[in-house]
Amino acid sequence: MLRLVRLGSQRSSRYGAMKGEAMSDLYELRCRECGKTWGNSPKSFCEDCFSPLEVSYDYDSLGKKVRREDLAGRTFNMWRYRELLPLAGDVTPASAVGGTPLVASRKLASHWGISNLYFKNDAVCFPSLSFKDRVVATALVAARRFGFETVGCSSTGNLANAVAAQAAQQGFDACVFIPADLEPAKVLNTAVYGARIVRINGNYDHVNRLCAQIADRFKWGLVNVNLRPYYSEGSKTHGYEIAEQLGWRLPDNVVVPMAGGSLITKIAKAFKELTTLGWVEAKPVKFFGAQATGCSPISDGVKRNLARFEPQKPNTIARSLAIGNPADGPFAIKLIRESGGWAEDISDPEIVAAIKLLAETEGIFTETAGGVTAGVTQKLISQGRIGAAETTVVCITGNGLKTTDAIAAEFPLAEAIAPRLDAFEAYLDNQFAAAAAAK
């Protein structure tokens, strides 16, 4: 049962001390524009200049608290980096999240004519098979700390899955808001955990605007609204793992799918932190952003060198990237430009082709967002933006089982045959004949 508690008279408490606020925190919220600090509370924007907040850390103290060597005895999941995350001192994370494979490519690297290609495969992230498990994990730690009983989100699908799964596991009520046309598999993968699903007639940006109003009115922990600074820190663990799995070194290039634009900036933050702490050697890393052409406000902003990106109405099969007004768009554009990287986008047929190519060559079945990232990587290589000898990591962020409708038409069911050997031999003859005719 949802606890429909309006803020009402409790509204003033949002701006004061919150439950669980600890003076000993080595982190606090800081405005990304004016730099003002706000302690720790469930808020996502600076109340002075209304720009986004993010978590900042006392790196001097962190460096004394944990060393890289301390990680050696820890289980390989995202909590092995716990000192670098916004967790209160007494928190015991509820479940193992992250710790996904970094797959060294052989076939696709060869196919594309490069030598050092890796796929960071969050298609197998637990519990809900996308990198959103990481961000929800840190968001729910914050939700618990701030005393929320109901959590939720605006979602293009993967986030709803992750919120529903982890809320069920940890005893939160969950209420998620999604565009009404979301893929059926993603809706089912949320419903099964018992979450309340509110379908909105509109695109993600309509859902998101509504959730901003809901967070203003109800005392709920919306992970990507009022808990967003804590939520987005979870993305850093994708970057920490890449560095550690490369032997505590940074890659030359990272190709990252972009929806709201947060992940790419948080991977950059992760690399910067590891460098600050002396855990990796400093080196320039080029950040490349990937979008679908049908929703490409960030790549458009990069390619046209816009001072401000122009929002778009999404129209693509890559619904998990279909955010026309990306919250971190300005920061993603700045990062990509300053790193010497680039952003590209590909069409829906190119996305489908890339999903198939990744599956056939590497055995990785990714959702449409992963198709975008793989296809854009191919495009960047063909443009000469990614060098053949450079170390390149491609971020695969979700599982193909969630978006089977996007590729179902590519694989029509073959006609069934009788359970007899002669029927099978006839089937083979037909197959050979068809193959010969196709040549």
């Binding site: 524009e33 600076c46 209304f50 720009s51 986004p52 709201g260 300005p330």
Partner: protein, 91 residues
């Protein structure tokens, strides 16, 4: 045209706690000017030094982002609602 501007909680410390105002405006620009004339402390939070609506402030006419409606020059009709959302989140 008589329209309503809805003011989010975070802005209300600049509006003496007022959650919404009714005003008469022909365009979004006029409505915002009316708002910041009534509450001058809000002015620098709505527009930047170049007079543009701040990058992280989102303005909606009814359910739609005004950037899809031609920007702040878009015209209003009687009963329209103008909504301000600071620093849209999500993603």
């Amino acid at each position: 045209m008589p329209v309503t501007i809805e003011i989010p909680t975070a802005f209300r410390r600049f509006t003496d706690g007022t959650p919404r105002i009714d005003c008469s405006a022909a365009t979004i620009a006029e409505a915002l000017n009316d708002l910041t004339t009534r509450f001058p402390a809000l002015s620098r939070h709505v527009r930047d030094e170049q007079g543009q609506i701040r990058q992280f402030l989102n303005v909606y006419l009814n359910e739609e982002d005004i950037r899809f409606l031609g920007g702040e020059g878009c015209t209003l009709k009687e009963g329209d609602r103008v909504l301000l959302v600071p620093s849209i989140a999500g993603g």
